[in-house]
């Protein structure tokens, strides 16, 4: 390898994203299995003709065979389960990642109405993620290991790594930035009452606290404007070392709040997972070291207190 080609320093973050995305995809496909013929079958809950048309447009009509009867559909979904399991553990590396992305793409084409924001985030991040060296950590590389080693030793693959890491970062930023832009045109987001409605709508009214909380005018106005501010600030503050961890923590807390009060589960976890791409390996190692130090000092204090109590 020539010295001029600089390596990326985000392998831990990329591997974390791969592992968690793999788990979430695995969970989703297993959930689809019992009712797969309704969701994706020829006589399912979305029109078949539209799927035929779009597959024909991209010259992939042969893929419709997997959706024409229950047996083929089950085989397709079980193959996706295997691919997702492999992806989670890094088995088959890039080849497995490419196959998984293609399999998920056709499920999205067949029935986009059952997908939520988390599926959309995964579908736009995955095409970049699979070509980076996200298989380096938390892996059990059994298949194509040598092929993967040859691939990763190439200078041009190192370039792909660096550029696609940047692409993932931009894609994550796009989610927040364009959400904020779209919100800025809404009357309820402008007059500061949007959170009142989002927290009270039956679909997202997840706790008994939602109604009393939204009776408080300060809570509603503050959270409405802060949400927009955080979303727009993310796009800018995440690039600088001094502000990066502050904005990542605040946005993660926002997602935890959304999860607790509105029960939007997958989306919250997927977005928090993608933050790993903004943290480099050195930072991960120092976080790990810091956490370890705190735990051992906590245990030490606990022991001291116990000793005092016993005496």
């Amino acid at each position: 390898m020539t010295a001029e080609v600089q390596k990326t320093n985000q392998f831990i973050g990329l591997s974390i994203i791969r592992f968690i995305f793999g788990l979430i995809i695995l969970k989703n496909i297993i959930f689809y299995l019992p009712t797969s013929d309704y969701y994706f079958g020829k006589n399912g809950i979305v029109p078949w003709e539209d799927f035929l048309l779009i597959c024909g447009t991209i010259n992939m009509s042969f893929m419709t065979i997997f959706f024409q009867n229950d047996l083929m559909l089950k085989i397709y979904l079980l193959l996706t389960v295997v691919l997702a399991f492999n992806f989670c553990l890094g088995i088959g590396s890039t080849i497995n990642g490419v196959a998984l992305t293609i399999f998920l793409f056709f499920l999205k084409l067949r029935n986009g109405l059952i997908l939520d924001g988390s599926d959309n985030v995964i579908s736009v991040v995955l095409p970049f993620l699979i070509f980076t060296n996200c298989y380096r950590f938390f892996n059990v590389q059994l298949a194509y290991d040598k092929l993967e080693q040859v691939l990763r030793s190439k200078d041009w693959m190192t370039v792909v790594d660096r550029v696609f890491v940047l692409a993932i970062k931009i894609q994550v930023i796009f989610v927040y930035f364009f959400t904020a832009i779209a919100k800025s045109g809404g009357v309820l987001w402008q007059n500061g009452t949007a959170v009142y409605y989002t927290m009270r709508v039956k679909e997202f009214n997840a706790t008994s606290l939602n109604v009393p909380l939204t009776q408080n005018v300060y809570f509603v106005v503050f959270t409405t404007y802060t949400t927009q501010l955080i979303e727009i600030a993310f796009a800018f503050l995440v690039w600088f070392k001094k502000t990066k961890f502050i904005i990542l923590t605040i946005t993660a807390l926002l997602h935890v709040g959304i999860f607790i009060f509105m029960r939007i589960d997958n989306f919250s976890w997927v977005m928090i997972t993608t933050y790993a791409v903004f943290i480099n390996d050195d930072e991960f190692l120092s976080i790990h070291k810091g956490v370890k130090l705190r735990i051992s000092s906590f245990l030490l204090w606990k022991q001291k207190i116990l000793n005092i109590i016993i005496k």
Partner: protein, 246 residues
């Protein structure tokens, strides 16, 4: 293999320079591709403006279906009412009308989903919300269009009002109702059954009246938006393998 020592130094230097040049070109090209990709995505995701209007077709054909995305999360305005989706089956036999009650599709799924933390029914709830949103959004656009063009004849308005039948959500709901129908014994006795659906829009107290009891339906403003899904022939269900025996 030829030892590096046997190759004249100017040749290895040339090879190294060539390789370095190749990588630089590759890196620059890849950055350019990514720059173009996100520039097109920016135009696709940005609010309507003169530039994305000019290149609408080109942008759409690049983004769809491989890079399609939409980040209008609770935007421009969040849904501000509880919307439910109800269907009803009506059949005639010797001029005697038989019909089911209004079946609340969303409520059934919502109640089941609330029982467990992680439920596969979350997907079905998302589907029903997507269907409802798709129909409501199209209908609002259509009504606005008809209202702003007062010169339309009654026939033209009737044709326009029938456009909802092309809506993806409407057609999806038809597929869904066929599955529901196939599970009801009701369907067996008739050759064909008409299906109606309605979207019930229940506006809970607005922000200015936030202290009113949220759980008291008397404080809600309820509107019904009723449409028909057409006629489903029971024979068609059997041909599709959806009869109630399944």
């Amino acid at each position: 293999m030829i030892s590096q020592d046997l190759i004249p130094s100017n040749l290895t230097d040339q090879k190294r320079r060539g390789s370095k040049y190749g990588i630089t070109v590759f890196r620059a090209s890849l950055y350019l591709v990514i720059f173009l990709h996100f520039s097109i995505l920016t135009l696709y995701l940005a609010p309507s403006n003169p530039v994305n209007h000019i290149f609408k077709v080109e942008i759409g054909s690049y983004v769809n279906p491989f890079f399609s995305q939409n980040w209008s999360l609770f935007a421009p305005d969040p849904v501000s009412s509880n919307q439910t989706l109800q269907i009803k089956f009506i059949a005639f036999n010797n001029e005697i009308e038989s019909k089911t009650d209004w079946l609340d599709l969303k409520e059934m799924v919502h109640a089941e989903r609330a029982k467990s933390f992680w439920s596969p029914l979350q997907r079905l709830e998302k589907y029903l919300s997507g269907v409802t949103q798709s129909i409501v959004t199209d209908q609002i656009h259509l009504n606005n269009f008809i209202e702003t063009h007062s010169n339309f004849s009654q026939d033209s308005i009737r044709v326009l009002q029938d456009l909802y039948k092309m809506n993806y959500g409407h057609r999806s709901l038809k597929s869904y109702s066929q599955i529901v129908l196939s599970k009801l014994n009701f369907a067996k006795e008739y050759d064909s059954i008409a299906v109606m659906y309605r979207i019930v829009d229940a506006k809970f107290p607005r922000f200015s009246k936030r202290h009113l009891d949220y759980h008291d339906l008397n404080n809600y403003e309820i509107t019904y938006f009723e449409l028909d899904l057409g006629v489903i022939k029971y024979k068609d269900l059997e041909d599709d393998g959806r009869s109630s025996e399944n």
